[in-house]
């Protein structure tokens, strides 16, 4: 007997695919296409543009004009490579810093008495209620030479001269760690909260001190949460534009900033698109790793 085609099932599955197609794959195809074009003093500022009125010859001439020139350009000028490298470095270090600050926070949350947890979780989520941009601007007010931090430190006599924090990489680290902390704390909290307390008791019972029990049981079992949290910080930090632009000054080169200046400063859409394509492809690798780990975790739980 032939099974009847299940339209309901098909539609249900089709929705997310359609969503991805319209809002990710199509725009990405356009970006790829622009990255293969050449700049031009025109509107839009690149050639070729597809002209269907010329029929088949229009299509062939369109494709014949596409080339990898913009990608070659990325290799020619060191600025792009340095931006990638610097972004990688900043994303890596800020992820590490976020983990160092976020782990104790998540651990504390998970160990807090039940009636406190909701309140504490609210406090972690609360910053999201204010615009991201405003919160980053607020950091300028805190970090600038005559800002809150320097004034505070000088008034209690800890320093005589204001610290130069704003417009340095330090400010970028502060900004990223601050902005992305909840993304690390929340998945990590979820993992730690699920952790069976009797496992810790078993470790203590078998001769571990509380610190040993943490490193031998709690930490290894929280790794899925650590990995999830780290990726949620690392991936957006890699392409971050607002924070280095507002807090990092001209010294901090990051790929997001380079992309922005290519796009709006130089009006070089093809090169900007090429940068975006490379950035995306370079992030696909960690994302795939991330998904693999999640899958494995789900298997282990099943």
């Amino acid at each position: 007997m032939q099974r009847q085609f299940d339209w309901g099932r098909f539609l249900l599955i089709a929705i997310p695919f359609l969503w991805l197609l319209i809002f990710f794959l199509l725009p990405f195809a356009i970006v790829v296409k622009i990255s293969l074009s050449d700049t031009a003093n025109a509107l839009p500022p690149y050639v070729p543009t597809l002209n269907l009125s010329e029929g088949w010859s229009g299509i062939t001439s369109f494709f014949s004009q596409l080339d990898l020139e913009s990608f070659a350009w990325l290799l020619d000028d060191k600025i792009y490579f340095l931006s990638y490298l610097n972004s990688l470095k900043i994303a890596f270090i800020s992820t590490l810093l976020t983990l160092l600050i976020g782990y104790p926070m998540a651990y504390g949350l998970a160990k807090a008495p039940q009636r406190w947890r909701t309140v504490l979780l609210m406090l972690v989520i609360l910053p999201f209620w204010t615009s991201f941009l405003i919160r980053v601007y607020a950091w300028i007010g805190i970090l600038k030479p005559e800002g809150l931090l320097n004034m505070g430190l000088m008034s209690i006599g800890l320093i005589d001269q204001p610290l130069a924090i704003i417009n340095t990489p330090t400010a970028v680290y502060i900004g990223i760690v601050y902005s992305y902390l909840p993304f690390l704390v929340l998945p990590l909290y979820a993992t730690l909260e699920k952790l069976d307390q009797t496992l810790i008791e078993a470790a203590l019972d078998l001769g571990c001190s509380p610190i040993q029990a943490f490193w031998k049981v709690t930490f290894p079992l929280s790794l899925p949460g650590v990995v999830a949290g780290c990726f949620l910080v690392f991936i957006p930090a890699m392409g971050e534009f607002v924070i280095p632009d507002l807090l990092g000054g001209s010294d901090t080169i990051m790929i997001g900033k380079t992309l922005w200046s290519e796009f709006f400063g130089n009006r070089d859409w093809p090169v900007a698109s090429a940068v975006a394509v490379v950035l995306l492809l370079s992030l696909v690798v960690p994302i795939v790793i991330f998904q693999r780990i999640q899958e494995r975790q789900r298997e282990a739980e099943a």
């Binding site: 009797t198 008791e201 078993a202 203590l204 078998l206 001769g207 282990a300």
Partner: protein, 379 residues
């Protein structure tokens, strides 16, 4: 002992005044907020005992176990192991290991690593650990599973790993927290005997927490029946069953009939009793009963015989109507309603096939029990 060389040697160190207890609870009280989990508990446990803590949930038995393991500290009083006060020694410094109810196996470690965990923590050499782990794996018959992770094992196998892990360090005292709770009935019975054999073979002291009275009866050398943080009775399984000291204990262990009576008179150890309806009973008991006092007669259903004819001879007998028959294969329990509306139970072995059974619903029958069958309870 020297004064009784002929007597068969019975394991009963608690009767021997020269024996020093391995574990001593001295006036231990544990409170959580204003809730008292353990109330002024004093208790001795001897070496090589298989000691069972029995009681409903919330009676304080798990608290006792956790106090011994070191996860809780007493609010007042002392806990001694081998004469040494360990009340405030952290769990990792105690000669005690625990087998957890949930097994608490480390999910990120293989069976082998789980069993060797405590040994590695002690800082033993790799060869020594390896050897001991092999020995433990052989003991619980899990050699082929050494490299598996806990989630790749069945419930019974996990239970064995947990047992092997808690035995690996050769603890002075092994604590077992409802160790068989997650197993099905057949496997549970099998494991009970395995645990007993193991305990005897290793010569270790076991302390088990359970709410399953059958489990406690089967395995334990002594049972402490607990209620609301207090030990109601501490005795051997047979004494707990045959000579309960209170209605609570009698009711908690097995099935029982209670008959409220007044003591009318006595002649030596033979007492004359009367219940509220005026039925007279005779009782032979070593317990001293005051004439005029109210007591409860506890009679186990299997000691009550149900018959159609009036029983002859030296027995107590009452008449009633069969209200219900609970058939459970090997035995049937007859619920017999007396004229005053109370029900007495009689459990009879099904020696004949059910269809040949002479007694059925609504029959008028006699219930009888011997003069020594009942136990008088004052509380």
């Amino acid at each position: 002992m020297a004064d009784a060389p002929e007597q068969r040697k019975v394991f009963a160190p608690w009767l021997d005044t020269t024996q020093k207890p391995l574990i001593r609870f001295e006036n231990v009280t544990k409170r959580f907020g204003d809730y008292t989990a353990l109330d002024n508990l004093t208790l001795d446990i001897y070496e090589r005992e298989f000691f069972a803590l029995l009681g409903p949930s919330g009676c304080g038995k798990t608290t006792m176990l956790r106090l011994l393991a070191g996860f809780e500290t007493p609010t007042s009083g002392r806990i001694l192991i081998g004469g040494e006060d360990i009340s405030h020694v952290p769990p990792n410094k105690r000669p005690v290991n625990m087998m957890f109810q949930s097994y608490a196996l480390f999910p990120h470690m293989t069976v082998e690593k789980n069993i060797g965990f405590g040994l590695k923590q002690e800082g033993q050499s790799a060869e020594a650990i390896n050897e001991r782990v092999k020995e433990m794996l052989a003991l619980v018959q899990l050699e082929p599973f050494a490299q598996r992770k806990p989630h790749q094992l069945s419930g019974g196998q996990r239970q064995r790993v947990a047992l092997a892990r808690s035995l690996a360090k050769r603890p002075t005292l092994l604590l077992l927290d409802e160790p068989l709770g997650a197993l099905d009935k057949k496997l549970r019975e099998k494991t009970q005997f395995e645990l007993m054999t193991l305990q005897e073979k290793l010569g270790m002291t076991f302390m088990i927490v359970t709410h399953d009275q059958e489990e406690a009866m089967t395995m334990a050398s002594r049972i402490a029946v607990m209620d609301k943080g207090v030990v109601m009775q501490l005795d051997t399984p047979s004494d707990i069953y045959e000579a309960p000291n209170s209605r609570y204990v009698a009711d908690f262990i097995g099935n029982v009939n209670f008959i409220e009576c007044t003591v009318i008179s006595h002649n030596g150890q033979e007492y004359q009793l009367k219940d509220k309806q005026g039925n007279q009973f005779r009782l032979i008991s070593e317990v001293q009963l005051e004439t005029g006092s109210t007591i409860w007669l506890a009679v186990r259903p299997e000691k009550v015989i149900v018959s159609k004819e009036q029983p002859q001879g030296d027995v107590n007998a009452v008449q009633g109507i069969v209200w219900d028959i609970a058939y459970s294969g090997d035995t049937s329990t007859y619920h017999v309603r007396l004229p005053d509306g109370t029900t007495l139970k009689s459990e009879m072995a099904n020696l004949r096939r059910v269809r040949n059974r002479p007694i059925t619903w609504e029959d008028t029958v006699w219930l009888s029990w011997s003069l020594t069958a009942a136990v008088p309870l004052k509380r």
